[in-house]
Every structure is written in C-alpha cells, then in structure tokens.
Amino acid sequence: MDVGLFVVQFLNGLQLGILLFLLASGLTLTFGIMDFVNLAHGSFYMVGAFICASLTLATGSFIWGVVLAIPLITAVGFVTEWLVIRHLYRRDHLDHVLATFGLILVFDTSVQLIWGPAGIALPLPAWLNGQVTFPGGIVFPTFRLLIIATGLIIAAGLYILVNHTRLGMLIRAGASNRTMVGALGVDIKTLFSAVFALGAALAGIAGMLISPITEASIGMGNEIIITAFVVIIIGGIGSMKGAFLAALLVGLIDTLGRAFLDDLFKFVMTTNAAETAAPAVSAMLIYIMMAAILAVRPQGLFPPKVR
C-alpha cells in the first residue's frame, strides 16, 4: 500500500468525520436535552449551504458568505423551533419522526421554490483553491485542510461551552434531568430554543463548508443525515464525546474502506471477485460496524449516565 495515498485518504476520512461531527453534535444535543428526534436536521445543512451560496455570489467572497449566513441559519432554526418543534416535546417519538419528516418535505420544496431545482456551485477564493505540499511529497487540497481545522476549532469551542460555561452547565443538567432543571427555576423554553438554534447553526456550518466541494443541492441533507444517525447511535445518543469519537471513526472507516477494501480483498479472492464485492461491502461497512458495536453495547460506546 502506498503510504502517500494512505495519508491523503486518512485526511479525507478525517474531513468527512469532522463534517459528521458538526451534524451529529446538534442531533445529540437536541436529543440529550429535549428528548427530541429531528429527522429534519439535515435540512439545516442544506439550507445553510444554499444561503451561503447566494451570499457568496452576492458579495463575491466565500468568507463573507459564511459569516453572513451563520446568523441567518441560526434564525431559521429558531423560527422552526418556535413554529413547530416546541409543540412536539411532550409527544412521543413517533410524532417527532412524522412531523419532522413533513418538515423535510417543506424545506426541500421551499428551497426548490426559492433557488430552483438545479444545484449551485460555489467559487473558492484563489488562496483557498490551491494545494498544500507536505514533506514527503504528499499533496492535499488547502480547503479540505481548512475544513478539518475549522471543525476542530468548533469542537474545542463546544467542549468549552458545554463544560465551562453557565449555558453548558444547564445543558449538562438538562441532559441528566430536565424536569429538575425546570423545577429549579431555569427558563426551559428559552434553553430549548437556544440549544435547537445552536444545533441548526452547526448543521448549517457543515453545509456551508462542504458546498464549495460538492455544490449546494436539494436533498443533500437527506443523504448525510442517516450517516449522522449512525454516528450518534455508535457514540451513544446524548453524548458529545461519543459523537466526536464516533464521527471520526465513521468518517475514517467509510473513506478508507472505499479506498482500500478492494486491495485487502485481493489477498483472499480473485481480482475480479474483489472488484465486484469491494464496492458493495465498503458501502455497507459503517452499518456492519454499527451492528457489531450494538451487539456488544446496545446503548452505544458512551451511553448517557442518567436516562
């Protein structure tokens, strides 16, 4: 196996993992605190990408696009929570699933109405569009490195927010016993709104970061959201640390599997058979991993302590 290629694919996997973490952290926060299942979380990923695309084309700068889009996607999350989500907290999970499935339809069609059916490609500024050469002659796109760095900074920010601020204290308290938090006089409604909007913003940022690579397109959130679900199932629903580690694990396994599984298979079967089997198996790899982990730990790697 070529070491250079391995390093590049490793970084690609890391980048996918970071994106998954940005999505999964919002999911796991809303679930941990509000006990709410949000299928429409991927819609914020998509809407974030489209808002950012419009603003980038309007201002001519991707950076400005992102900076201006973040408050907007936060507002979208806030309004969604206010209109629909907050009426569902007391319902059972089936109602959550159905209502947010309806939200997906609404978001997808609204985006189609506003931006049209075609995807929007985003131009990158020249200084981000290049490549970085590492010692050893390994070449990697600058922008993907920027995604990794941004994601790690956000992860660190979330760690500080959750563990060392008053809001974080309420979030942790809410995750272990939300009734008690309410009884202690905390304004639960505002806390829930804030957490939901924070999750929407994180998903939106993930969408903004990926759109220059893939372009902003309708339904982009519906594909990745399932992978984000796999992440939080593996990590343990409600656990931030679990979401982070599981996101990196899923990102790496998925990317490396697609890149190298056929080479591994060639050791044990004919080239022809390996080339047929490898794509199918690598597509299923993260689900097989999820099944294996759940068989040993039905609550995921880091189950929340109080449930």
Partner: protein, 348 residues
Amino acid sequence: MSERPAIRTARSVEGSVAQQRGFAGRFSLARRLTLVGLVVLAAVPVLAYLAGNTFWLDIFTRLTILSIAAVSLNLILGFGGLVSFGHAAFLGLGAYAVGIPVHHSINGGFDAIASTNGLFHIALAVGVSAAYALVTGAISLRTRGVYFIMITMAFGQMVFYAAVSISAYGGDDGLTIYERSSLPFISLDNPLALFAWCYGSLLAALFVVHRIVNSRFGVVIRGAKGNEERIGALGFDAYRYRLLAYVISGVMCGYAGALLGNFTTFISPAMMDWTRSGELLFMVILGGAGAVAGPVVGASVFLLLEEVMSRFTIYWHLPFGILLIGCVLFVRGGISGLLGQPAGRRDD
C-alpha cells in the same frame, strides 16, 4: 411449572380483548365502511378499465401493493409499537428478488437463480426478506425507542447503498425487468389479472394480520407494547415474540415488493430510499395505526392526494408536508380515528 401461570394470565388478557371486541362491535359502522371501501377499491378500477380508461387501474394496482406494505408495517407499528423506519428495504428486496432472476434468465449467468417462474420469485422474495428481517431484527430489537427507529433506518439505508454499489444489476440506474413473473393459470402481463392478483393478496394480508392480532400471539405483542415488564413478568419473552412479528411483517412487505417489481417492471435503489420508508409510516399513521384496515385508508388518501396535488403544481410536496405536520399537531389516531374506530394506541 413456569408455563401454568403464564397461560392462565394470558387467558385473562384475552378476556379483556373480548371486551375490546365487544367495544369494536358497537362500531359496526366502521366495519361496514371497511367492507364498502374494499368493494369500491375493486370496483372503481375494474369498471373504469372496462369502460376503456386504463389510468385508474394503474393507480389502484399501485395502491393495493403499497397497502399490503403498509398493512404489514402496521402489524409491528400499530399493534407492536415498533417504529420501523426501514420497511422500504423489504419492498426493494422483494422487487430485486424478481428482477435479478429474470435478468439472469435473459442475459445468462448465475444459473442457480436464473428463472422467470413466479412461484420461485415469491419464494425467493419471502426467503430473502425473512433472512434479512431475522438478522436485522435480532440486532435492532435489542434496543428501544429512538435507537430502534434510527437503527432500522440505518439498516434500510445499508440495503439501499448496497444496491447502488452493485453495478452488475444497474447500480444507481436501476434494472429493467423485461419479463414478468410467470404464474400458473394467469398472466401478469394482463393488467386486469395483475390487479386481481394484487387485490387478492391484499385481502389475504388483511385476513392474516386480523387473525394474528386476535390470536394469543397477537395478544402478547400488544401486551408488550402496553407494558413490556408486565408481559415479561407473566413469563413471556417479549423479544422472541417481537422478533417473530418483525419477520412476519418483513416477509409480507417483501412479498409486496415482488408484486411491485411485476407492476413497475423497473427496479432501482430509489424505491428503498429512507424517504420511501417515511411515506409508508405516514400511510399507516394517516389511516390510524391500530386498526387492521387503517393503512389501506391511509395509502388511498396518500396516493390520491399525491395524484391530485401533483396535477396542480410540481411543488405539491409543500402542501403535503404542511398537511403532515398539521396531522401530527392536531389530529391524533389518524383518519380511522376520525371515523370513530377504536385505535389500539389509546390503551395507555
């Protein structure tokens, strides 16, 4: 020794079911409506077809097939309380169980399964669905609530991606079925015969679910939905009962998939995307989970809404989504609930 109290208490549970049945008997209006509905379901497309309009037969054939899928989902969702978000995978498995053997019988290769025999297709669809349900069910049912929803969803998506990545069977582009399943006595190439086969299957599915739900097995499943610990204390292993129910449901849905393959004569991974599973769930809830025939009502309303709305605007998903949210926020128990049919989900 441990069997005796279990059985005795099961009988007393059945006693309460008999009471419930008496309760349902008072709503014979709903039962009569079900019969009328089933007659209409058969009469409209056949009469329209005989009058020279093939359009309605097409819609109603799809409707009966999706109804079977929704009825199968309702067995575990409405009566078992298990929210499976991956049932479209069974539809896909069933359809590929028709498509792949036909593909090989025409293009050669893989002689072991190359066949156009419809009975073989159905056996394959049932076998594959049962095996898949057994493995994924055994893992998924170890978990509860949201975990179960997400895991069934993830497994469904696993089948989706597997189908996408197998280029031998068309991958993302799908696979055209050049020859329908050949069955003894009838030809599925005749649209009327195809509809009759699907309609008969739907009646059989409704009958089977009705019998299961009212059997001792069904009582345990419903009891486990209401209170799993109590059922456990009565000496029943809820996990085993649920797993069997999950397999039965999957097999029925896989069978519907085989019909769907014969109906569309084209299969692609898109038919098992997780949003399809969501639509099936919606049909069940719309028709009122907990009534055996509810999903048929739900599927009818769903397909007719889709047909009508998509004629007015290409953006019909927007009002549809708003309707869905509205249903959840304001109507509980679905349309059957509005009709006054006792819904099983109110028993808590």
